[in-house]
């Protein structure tokens, strides 16, 4: 599929952050294209969400709710125990359902799990499978749209944080992240929050690496 022609008001040669922020209603292509976070009207394509126009012409949303997708891995918790399954809070507009048959362990109210979405229907009802319990640790909430940046290309960002802090980290596509108790959890959480706040600024990987390195020399105040 050829890339849509992007509106001339964006000078892509100088990738300055300010010029690349797109507002709802702003035209991104002068022909109808199916792009996420866009809509088509009278044969032109417009952005629907506040986003960043990346160098390769993709729209990266800066904010917004979690959109559950098939095969997403999520960190979630049990909100209700029902007769043959569980209602799970996945940080979405509605709870997901986990059938008792889809999990080997028996779950309790409040248990934090790592699971995979194996069905999303037209009204966005979600069903989960392959759930396993994450015990202890800390559950933090982040913006779901920042998760790709927190994970990084091929886990590069989250891997770097995990190694530097010695923490086991489970990142849910839904914005919930579980950090283990062992290791420097405080530094891990602080660093994740930094990535979340600076996700739209280039050069982030280097800054995060520098931050982690500077904390290594300081005593780990847990």
């Amino acid at each position: 599929m050829s890339k849509p022609k992007v509106c001339e008001s964006y000078d892509r040669r100088s990738f300055k952050m300010k010029n690349n922020i797109v507002l709802p209603g702003q035209m991104v292509a002068d022909r109808p294209v199916r792009l996420p976070y866009c809509y088509v009207e009278k044969n032109k394509t417009y952005a629907s969400v506040l986003s960043l126009l990346s160098e390769d012409g993709r729209l990266v949303p800066l904010c917004g709710p979690y959109e559950p997708m098939l095969d997403d891995y999520v960190v979630a918790y049990v909100q209700e125990v029902r007769f043959s399954g569980y209602n799970i809070n996945i940080n979405g507009a509605a709870n997901a359902y986990l059938s008792g048959r889809e999990t080997a362990q028996k779950l309790q109210l409040g248990d934090v799990i790592y699971a995979r979405i194996n069905s999303v229907d037209e009204v966005k009802s979600v069903e989960l499978t392959d759930a396993r319990i994450l015990r202890g640790g800390k559950l933090i909430e982040t913006d779901a749209v920042k998760i790709p940046r927190i994970i990084g290309k091929k886990n590069s960002m989250i891997g770097m944080i995990s190694t530097a802090t010695g923490c086991e980290i489970y990142v849910g596509r839904n914005g919930y992240i579980w950090v283990s108790e062992k290791g420097n959890a405080k530094l891990a959480i602080e660093t994740i929050k930094m990535v979340e706040a600076q996700a739209h600024i280039s050069g982030l990987t280097d800054r995060i690496k520098a931050h982690l390195d500077s904390q290594k020399t300081a005593p780990a105040a847990n």
């Binding site: 952050m17 809509y39 629907s48 949303p61 904010c63 917004g64 037209e122 966005k124 706040a197 739209h200």
Partner: protein
Amino acid sequence: MAKEKPQLIIDGKRADGRSMEDLRPIKITAHVLNEAQGSALVEWGNNKILAGVYGPRECIPRHDASPYRAVVRCRYTMAPFCSLEEHGRSGPNRRSHELSKVIREAFENVIISEAYPRTQIDIYMEVLQSDGGTRCAAITAAAVALADAGIPMKDLVCAVAVGKIDGQVAVDFSKDEDNYGESDMPIAIAPRNGDVLLFQMDGNLTREELSNALEMAYRACAKVSALQAAALKAVYDGPKPQASLVLGNKQ
């Protein structure tokens, strides 16, 4: 004894020195609250309006939910301390119910609600200080709050009031101009295609005056729209800051 009608236009200028097409000073800040999904503060003349958005979230009561789209709810209220006059009553009154409805209908046009069936999106507008034109400032704030929440929309709605004072068509009325003018016409538009999404009018206008007023409204909305855009972009001018409301003098 009733207050005497003040002269609204003296020597071609309005009481505060503005010309007919000048807007009062407007300051818009996005992302000012921590809990709400999206938020904005609009300081328009002496008006201070705080808007916040929650959702899409589960629709309660369940029987109100639509299988096709998100239900949009709007609540416009005024704080008891907002007016320069007496202490007001808490909670909504007939005027705020009407405004909540027409504002909701304006946003229902632009929010892409089919993206979130069986959910609800709540828009809350709190008038902290009022000085004429609160509904336009409230709509302007709500649009920025919706964008700050990442709710998909076709456009960023903005609004302005136009009408007639002392026989002349003018834009953006202060409280006195609102009270003593000959006509008041708040308009909300979607800037991209110029669609009118909220439209109310009272008073007396000739067809020519109406036509002039509409043209003036579009020109004024273009200015407001630019301020909304700048407010949203400013949030991402560097690391995303902690949400914080700034209203008075720091101690």
